[in-house]
Symmetry: C2
Subunit: 334 residues, 2 copies
């Protein structure tokens, strides 16, 4: 399966999302920081599920969502992540394969259950995530398939991989294989609290050229450079060798390199329902464009289009063909 | 819990829905009759799930959806239905309780798994259902809580209860208790194929006055009276003692009694996404209005409003407060 070329290989936490609308009061009563992702254990997962409203269940996981977006856009994608052999693992596996993503990571047969993220969506469309990592904690270097990395134009990794114990070793192994094969390596910083936890390590990844393409939103970028001033953070990013892609919600995105900074507008939407997956889907469009040799501005337009679909309904997976949607907007991938 | 009054007690199959968008070609290739519900076994469930696209998982079940709609409208509702003690049963139980529906039916600890319905939604918004009844097959008269029926102004039963072996006995038991307590009994015909299977029994329920309020759509009503002529079917319905409520999708609804027929318009929508649950939510609004003594036309308006919310997103459970939505439209329940 790995001997044909993939546009993108995503490596990340394999998670099924449990999403519910909630009022801001619920976040306050449960001391949850709006817009963030916090890690929870199984006991807290049960407590929170019991307290939250009726939910809908949709496969998620940041890098996994990105590979699904790429497949929906008509690209070829693969994913590495760990689920257990249980009912939730069946759901994750079905959904990612059903859209055509190559997913063959060995499933654990014992130990913690497949990961779930309990996502609370407030009336402003913002999502607050509570993640039980479960089986994701078992992802390690042995799960990295060398030939799959070599056969993928871009290997894309999520910052959240720093949370489980051995996944960062899997990350480093994959990055090494990719570079030796002349491939590109990309990372998303995932979440400003995640950057707080691993700031030095993420900056080291940039300094030592492990990362060719960096995705971040404003909060994550400011956290990375430990500054409250966005322009200072941008200036610092320009000094790195990497291509920076900074997403700014309704203000669009910035493409940042040592050559300068280019702004690209957001894609118009009718109603914001749920921002879950916005960054993941932006990365999907941008990375597929990059893998196919499209210029950076059109990569960002493709990213904005993919993000616009996913924020207009609950859940982080597209509910319509992004390829058709892109064609309607005059954006095509060849 | 049963000693305060419920507006409506729903009795039905307790099902979790697995919904996926699909093209018409998929229905044709799998020989599925669009818009219908067919019963499948576990082997076919696995085959179909493997063949269908990425899905979202949301609690469902026709009468269960109705009770959830009533709770969302601010009413008091209870539900009787059978799930097993498994992961899918946990999802069903969480969701229905989380919105405030009283649900205490004894869960089975062995035997078939909790029911799932694999629902294929075509681009026209029509849904085609493939239901594995699982644990629903264990629902029987012993599950009917006498005091709960007595404490509920209306007992609402789905025609689908004729499919599992003993649920119709539960249905008859509940109807008897309700009438002896001076309460009303209502049924939805569920599906025209279901009416084909049990036509004589459903007509007998009307003849012997087991049913006070009948919900049906055009296809089901024509099937009930074995005629292709809608006006003939309406004329036959007018001869029954029951109050008839006939839903006609975008053409609104008809309130049919021996006094005559009254048409009420549909509630306007922006985009039809998925008709799953349209009839269930119409019944929710109508029945709550009826339980609160509102006139039939306003009952139908409340039903149309509830249906309009649920057909604008995937899944048969409301994603916003129907009470707030009703208030915005000037419809209030006191």
């Amino acid at each position: 399966m790995a001997n044909h070329t993939h546009d993108v290989l995503g490596i990340g936490n394999a998670i099924v999302d449990v999403l519910a609308h909630t009022e801001d009061d619920f976040l306050i009563a449960n001391q949850l920081a709006k817009g963030s992702m916090r890690l929870i254990d199984e006991t807290e997962a049960e407590r929170l599920y019991g307290a939250m409203g009726p939910a809908i269940i949709i496969s998620g996981g940041s890098a996994a969502n990105t590979t699904v977006g790429i497949a929906s856009l008509g690209g070829k994608a693969a994913f590495i992540g760990k689920v257990r052999q249980d009912a939730v693992g069946d759901v994750f596996t079905h959904d990612i394969r059903a859209i055509g993503v190559h997913f063959e990571t060995h499933r654990s047969v014992e130990g913690p259950a497949t990961a779930r993220s309990f996502i609370l969506v407030t009336p402003d469309g913002e999502r607050t995530m509570n993640t039980y990592l479960g089986a994701c904690q078992l992802l390690g270097p042995d799960d990295i398939d060398d030939t799959l990395v070599e056969a993928s134009k871009i290997t894309y990794l999520e910052g959240y991989l720093w949370d489980p114990p051995d996944a960062k070793d899997a990350f480093r192994k994959a990055a090494g294989i990719a570079h030796r094969a002349g491939r590109k390596v990309s990372i998303t910083l995932s979440d400003s609290f995640c950057v707080d936890r691993y700031r030095d390590e993420f900056r080291e990844l940039l300094r030592d050229k492990t990362i060719d393409i960096l995705f971040a939103n404003e909060h994550e970028l400011k956290s990375l450079y430990a500054t409250s001033d966005f322009d200072s953070a941008l200036a610092a990013l320009r000094q790195e060798g990497a291509l920076g892609v900074v997403t700014r919600s309704e203000h669009g995105s910035l493409i940042v390199s040592h050559e300068g900074t280019k702004a690209v507008a957001a894609h118009p939407i009718e109603t914001l329902v749920d921002t879950t997956g916005a960054g993941d889907l932006f990365a999907a469009g941008f990375l597929l464009g990059l893998a196919r040799g499209i210029d950076h501005e059109n990569c960002a337009r493709m990213g904005a289009l993919a993000a616009s679909e996913v924020i207009q309904h609950l859940g982080a997976r597209p509910q319509t063909s992004l390829k058709d949607l892109a064609a309607e907007s005059g954006l095509t991938i060849s």
